[in-house]
Amino acid sequence: MANLKEIRNRISSVSSTMQITSAMKMVSAAKLKKAQDAITAMRPYADKLTELLQSLSATLDADSGSAYSEQRELKKVLIVPITSNRGLAGAFNSNIIKEVNRLVSETYANQEVSYLTIGKKANDAFKKTNNVIDNKSEVYDDLTFDNVAEIAQLLMDKFVAGEFDKIEIVYNKFKNAATQIVMTEQFLPIVPVEGEANANADYIFEPSKLEIVEELIPKSLKTQLYKGIRDSFASEHGARMTAMHKATDNATELRDQLKLTYNKARQAAITNEILEIVGGAEALNN
């Protein structure tokens, strides 16, 4: 029969673990709400920008914004994996790392691949390859559009300077609190937007259509990266919430089992004691 004290210790350690996991779950739930609101808040901007860009570039001749849409021979590829800074979020980070490794070994097996990591977990995973050109984990400390725009600008500069022929971002797209979808999106060169050429309603363009498009493309790229990071951020909290919920459930189950064992052991001990007393009394009577 298991030692009573031992079981008691285990019960208390499982209970305290449970407290931690359920607190983490609650914190993530609150942060998830905020992160989701941020995604909703930026949707009007992103939608409008895309709409404007589509209707303008559909009426323009090709070759607009050429610096960002230039297709070059594929030699050097930059992958931007977006993960979280912290763990304990289930398979959230390892899914990204797995996907990047798959990209490197299958799609870009013959190219020279470098990384620009966003998130400590991605940096930890890829720094041993010595191809990490930069790590931008600190963006999570202050997740604003301006800070993300700086990273996007850096990527654009590197592409235009010819340091890389293609830039891909890999991130978790937020579907709901329990589901994240790993997405690989081509960042540069830009994928030509398909748009219906609506007659443009006799717009006055200031300064000119071409200049407007050239101004809008970098903005749309910045928005794309911002959206990716925002999605990843919301996914992280969703994933952590789910993971911590499961952990709490498991801990509850374990604690209940331990309690049962403990009570059984306690009863057995009491029965034993009674038997001994009765036995002793019997012996005296004889």
Binding site: A41, M42, A46, K48, L52, A149, I204, E206, E211
Partner: protein, 92 residues
């Protein structure tokens, strides 16, 4: 006319206004009701909104009041689209 100002982080304003003046790349210009459709790039400057407007409390601190009672919003850059009496300002 209807005015909507959106930034990547929030919708800053939406509602009926009487006029809006924006810092276009080629100089400041003002739009009143039934202005012709226009798409323009905005540079750093101030968007001036006239009319009886109510601001959302969450973003109120981004706006200020001008001398003539107009509402001011500072932007770094942006894009503007005006069509069918609806103005949309994408402010960064």
């Amino acid at each position: 006319m209807y005015l909507e100002i959106v930034s990547p982080e929030a919708t800053l304003f939406s509602g009926e206004v009487t006029s809006v003046s924006v810092p276009g790349v080629n100089g400041e210009f003002q739009m009143l009701n039934n202005h012709a459709p226009v798409v323009s790039i905005l540079k750093e400057g101030t968007v001036k909104i006239a009319g009886n407007i109510e601001l959302n409390e969450d973003v109120q601190d981004k706006f200020s009041k001008g001398n003539a009672g107009e509402t001011l919003l500072k932007i770094n850059s942006g894009t503007l689209e005006m069509k069918d009496n609806k103005v949309i300002v994408l402010a960064d």
